[in-house]
């Protein structure tokens, strides 16, 4: 099918499956690997678009489900889409809206036709079909839009997983057919198949035939064992076409990002950095600081000494201790730092890939974060070993 993007791999790691690339989208270039902050309702939790730009963010997420409810399709059409609506001139990615219905609404029922759910506003029954999802996403105007998929929990086993996989393929066909703007919006397929390698393989084979501009690994990050998670990821990246971007949905912890990049993933999103910020948790290379704790009340250092975000340039932990979870400013400040941290981590990963020193970067990253090798998560050690990085052996080549 038509594509509105170009994907140029500029460097490949000589040890792992990691790669650095430039993804050109209708609203500008995106440096991959990339982390996409989640601005659920057309805004990134109190941070102004200008601030997000200044953090170096090139692509942000919006949720179709939320924008479909408010402001609604009519208003989005009237103002010319979500970019204009929220004053964001860079790229947007929207999900299909299906995930929220399954995760948020108890009364969602999935049929061949679509996802039926109770409207949170008036309780009436509504139906989200692949056609409706495409229509909404066309109105939003996102640079990358996701197909409606049949989401099952990654803990589900049995025939339901298989059914969901095949249905997702059928729905992808309906999405492709319903997509009105393939020349300006890119539709990504979502690989399903649970934790079953055979189903994943089948799904990839079928979906690759549809030749969408990019692919996402779906149905993960739902509470499955991490050791199973990375095996699915690495299997998918092995089987997926290497000349297209690969997006792993809902992944956002720092160590997950580093491992998944090594396994060959290019794009990520997660609400975690901004959500945890609202609880007063600041992300750093050496772990999370819970700024609500009294031990920070006389700590006159910034969150991170070498961070160049406006929070670290302006305030100490002692000051943040007094405002987090109490003032909106406290929330904005930690959100800004966490987003800056996440984006900086991705930049560092990318630079290390370009300079072909990603493996030593991984070694240093894990040492900074976990200090002791005994504290390294086993799944991460296994996953990295599968791509020739042995965390347990020395400090890595320098």
């Amino acid at each position: 099918m038509k594509s509105a993007l170009t994907w140029n791999v500029i460097a490949k790691c000589s040890t792992t499956k990691a790669r650095a690339a430039v993804l050109d989208l209708p609203h500008g270039s995106v440096n991959a690997p990339v982390f996409m902050p989640v601005g659920t309702q057309g805004t990134l939790k109190g941070i102004t678009p200008e601030q997000i730009e200044s953090l170096g963010c090139q692509i942000m997420l919006n949720n179709t489900y939320h924008l479909g409810l408010r402001p609604g399709q009519e208003l989005l059409d009237a103002c010319g889409g979500a970019h204009v609506f929220q004053g964001w001139n860079r790229n947007l990615l929207t999900d299909s809206g299906g995930f929220q219905m399954v995760s948020l609404l108890k009364l969602a029922e999935i049929t061949e036709q679509g996802v039926q759910f109770e409207s949170p506003h008036d309780g009436s029954l509504m139906l989200l079909t692949p056609e409706h999802s495409m229509s909404l996403q066309n109105s939003i105007g996102a640079d990358i839009m996701m197909q409606l998929d049949d989401v099952v929990s990654s803990l589900t086993t049995g025939p339901r997983v298989k059914e969901a996989m095949w249905r997702s393929i059928r729905w992808l066909d309906r999405c492709i057919k319903a997509h009105k703007k393939p020349e300006s919006q890119n539709l990504f397929a979502i690989i399903q198949g649970g934790l079953d390698p055979a189903l994943r393989k089948q799904c990839i084979e079928e979906m690759v035939k549809r030749d969408t501009p990019g692919y996402a690994i779906g149905g993960l990050s739902g509470g499955e064992e991490k050791d199973k998670f990375w095996r699915v990821v690495t299997q998918c990246t092995d089987l997926m076409p290497r000349e297209k971007p690969i997006y792993c949905m809902g992944v956002g912890y720092a160590e997950d990002l580093v491992v998944c990049v090594a396994l060959g993933v290019d794009m990520f999103d997660c609400v975690f950095p901004t959500r945890t910020a609202r609880f007063g948790n600041a992300l750093t290379a050496t772990g999370t600081l819970s700024l609500r704790q009294a031990k920070y009340k006389d700590d006159f250092r910034p969150i991170e000494e070498d961070c160049d975000c406006i929070t670290c340039k302006s305030y100490t932990r002692a000051y943040l201790y007094t405002v987090v979870t109490k003032e909106t400013v406290g929330c904005h400040l930690v959100s800004i730092h966490n987003t800056a941290y996440q984006l900086r981590l991705m930049r560092q990963i990318r630079e290390s890939i370009i300079e072909d020193r990603f493996p030593p970067f991984i070694h240093k990253f894990f040492k900074d974060l976990f200090v002791e090798k005994s504290a390294y998560p086993e799944w991460a050690v296994n996953a990295l070993q599968s791509v020739n990085v042995d965390l347990m052996k020395g400090d890595g080549p320098h």
Binding site: Q41, D298, E327
Partner: protein, 589 residues
């Protein structure tokens, strides 16, 4: 020599006491830091003179931050100063922990490029606290009422080194608690004697503060005087008692102690002066006119005072009565020093106050508008007369001073809040009324960020136009036009827009829409914790109660047993049996 200079650039015509001027601080707080505190370079440190134009505003802050604004969005605002309340920022472990405090307050709050004024109480509103005493002032912190002693206050000033400190003052507060509109005295109000005392006390404290600023340790002197009196009394007592041994002990103690105290004294007397701190004095007198005059005149006599504060938040009565009381104060103050007013926030109150000779205010008005979801659309000055026509409004209809963005009518208005406005939200049409309406209804924090920026910008524009009109000699004329056009602000009654009530109810009901509502989670967790605590408390109480009754019962039983035993010995054998059975049954019951 005070670092603060006040220049009057233009005095208005005889029609009003309005004046235009500047308040300038000579140095940045870091360049004249008095103690050997650690200096950390930041990008925002500047050694340039910091200036506030008057009439103008200190930005109102909560916990040392201007609400909703991060350092970068704060710098887009056109105000040169910030007002920080000690009751907001003083932590529970301070001032005891000030030995760890490494730098000035303005550095801590990242406000080095602005003029920082520090007062004890929140300047924006009235909150009732218990009466102050000779030794302390009551203030309302997040954890309830706290008492700040004069000694602690001095510690705070030395540690924080604000540019301007409001003097420690005994402000009387016995108004009804309702924050808006209803300003009724509780009972008969403070009597004449109480008001006199508040004026006297505050003057005494002011004198001490001015001495402290020059490096004189007034507390040590006070202690010494007190000790002297005590010694004398003690001596008399001892003499009277003629207790030779005790006296000897006393005297030897004195001998041992004396060198220590004499060692201490010179050190204390040469405390570091507050080189960079200016003092604004509160002018008091409550609702009693002659006391207001006395307070103003006495305070004015103190040469070291750099400016005056008139707090109208604590005054009872109608708007007109409050203005009259404020005027009494202003009329008896020297004209060559700036006057800061608390409690005059709406544009028309500000205009009336300026006409009476007020110079400085705070930005709590734009903050309150923002909290309501309102966006300012008022304007002052020359375009005032033309815009009603260009806007197509009927001249007889009063134009709104704000629009409420919760209103559904804005949902499809893809236009800026105010055309031609230069604030972050409006400039270049980046953000629209429809978007802010969406943000409010989606419970998103960017709504208040954008609204605060806009409302602050408009307030700043308002003051800028006021200054220009004083310069041009059109202030009185434009003031009249402003009131004619915009009327007066309806009294705030803590109103909440219907849409907001609906939203909050829905949020509470649905609990979590996107699994992304930390506030709700926190609130719910707090509620659960509170209930758990209550339950625990209840159980503990129950247990205690149980133990108590059990203990009592045991005691009673033992007593009865003892009595029974005694009786047994006295009673004939055949009766004993009966008694015992009766005992058993009563114990079971």
């Amino acid at each position: 020599m005070s670092p603060l200079t006040f220049n009057i650039i233009r005095q208005s015509t005889q029609l009003s006491a309005a004046r235009r001027g500047t308040v300038a601080m000579a140095h940045s707080p870091d360049t004249n830091a008095t103690s050997g505190k650690k200096q950390i370079e930041t990008s925002l440190t500047s050694s340039t003179k910091r200036v506030m134009e008057t009439p103008g505003c200190f930005m109102y802050s909560v916990k040392g931050s201007v609400p909703h604004l991060t350092p970068d969005t704060l710098r887009l605002q056109g105000f040169g100063g910030v007002n920080v309340s000690i009751e907001h920022i003083l932590q529970d472990h301070q001032p005891a922990g000030f030995d760890k405090w490494p730098f000035s307050l303005s550095k801590f709050l990242n406000l080095q490029d602005l003029i920082l004024l520090c007062d004890i109480r929140d300047s924006s509103r009235y909150t009732k606290v218990p009466f102050n005493s000779d030794r302390h002032i009551s203030m309302k912190t997040r954890r309830g009422v706290r008492q700040l002693t004069f000694e602690e206050y001095l510690k705070v000033v030395r540690a924080y080194e604000p540019d301007i400190i409001a003097a420690y003052a005994d402000s009387i507060s016995d108004l009804d608690q309702s924050e808006h509109g209803n300003r009724q005295l509780i009972g008969p109000g403070a009597g004449f004697k109480r008001v006199c005392k508040s004026v006297d006390r505050s003057l005494k404290w002011l004198d001490q503060i001015l001495q402290e600023r020059q490096g004189i340790d007034t507390l040590a002197a006070q202690d010494e005087a007190a000790a002297e009196i005590k010694k004398k009394k003690k001596g008399k007592k001892d003499n009277n008692q003629e207790n030779g041994v005790d006296q000897l002990v006393q005297e030897t103690k004195k001998v041992h102690l004396d060198p220590v105290t004499t060692d201490k004294e010179p050190q204390a007397a040469t405390k570091k002066p507050w080189a960079g701190v200016s003092v604004f004095a509160h002018v008091l007198g409550a609702q009693i006119e002659q006391e207001r005059i006395r307070s103003a005149e006495e305070t004015a006599k103190r040469e070291g005072v750099d400016g005056f504060i008139v707090d109208t938040n604590t005054l009872p009565g109608s708007r007109d009565e409050i203005f009259k009381l404020m005027k009494t104060s202003l009329d008896h103050l020297p004209t060559d020093k700036p006057r800061l007013i608390y409690g005059m926030q709406t544009p028309e109150d500000v205009l009336r106050s300026i006409a009476l000779g007020a110079d400085l205010f705070d930005t709590s008005y734009p903050f309150h508008l923002t909290e309501d979801g309102k966006a300012s659309v008022y304007s002052f000055g020359s375009n005032n007369t033309t815009s009603p026509i260009t806007n197509g409004h009927d001249n007889s209809v009063k134009t709104h001073r704000w629009i409420n963005l919760w209103d559904d009518e804005h949902a499809d208005k893809f236009v800026p809040i105010l055309k031609g406005c230069g604030c972050y939200a409006c400039y270049g049409g980046r953000h629209t009324r429809a978007y802010i309406n969406h943000l409010l209804k989606s419970h998103e924090m960017l709504a208040t960020v954008l609204l605060m920026g806009h409302n602050m910008h408009q307030y700043s524009e308002f003051f800028s136009n006021v200054r220009q009109s004083i310069q041009d000699g059109t202030f009185e004329q434009h003031s009249a036009l402003f009131v004619e056009r915009f009327g007066t602000e309806p009294e705030r009654t803590g109103e909440i827009h219907a849409a907001q009530i609906v939203l909050e109810a829905a949020l509470a009901r649905r609990n979590r829409l996107d699994g992304d509502e930390s506030e709700e989670e926190i609130a719910a967790a707090a509620l659960a914790a509170e209930e758990k605590k209550k339950e625990k408390e209840r159980l503990r109480k129950e247990r205690r109660e149980n133990n108590k009754t059990k203990g009592l019962r045991n005691m009673m039983n033992k007593k009865e047993e003892r009595l029974a035993k005694e009786r047994k010995q006295e009673q004939p054998l055949h009766e004993q049996h009966q008694q015992h059975a009766g005992d058993e049954s009563s114990r079971q019951g």
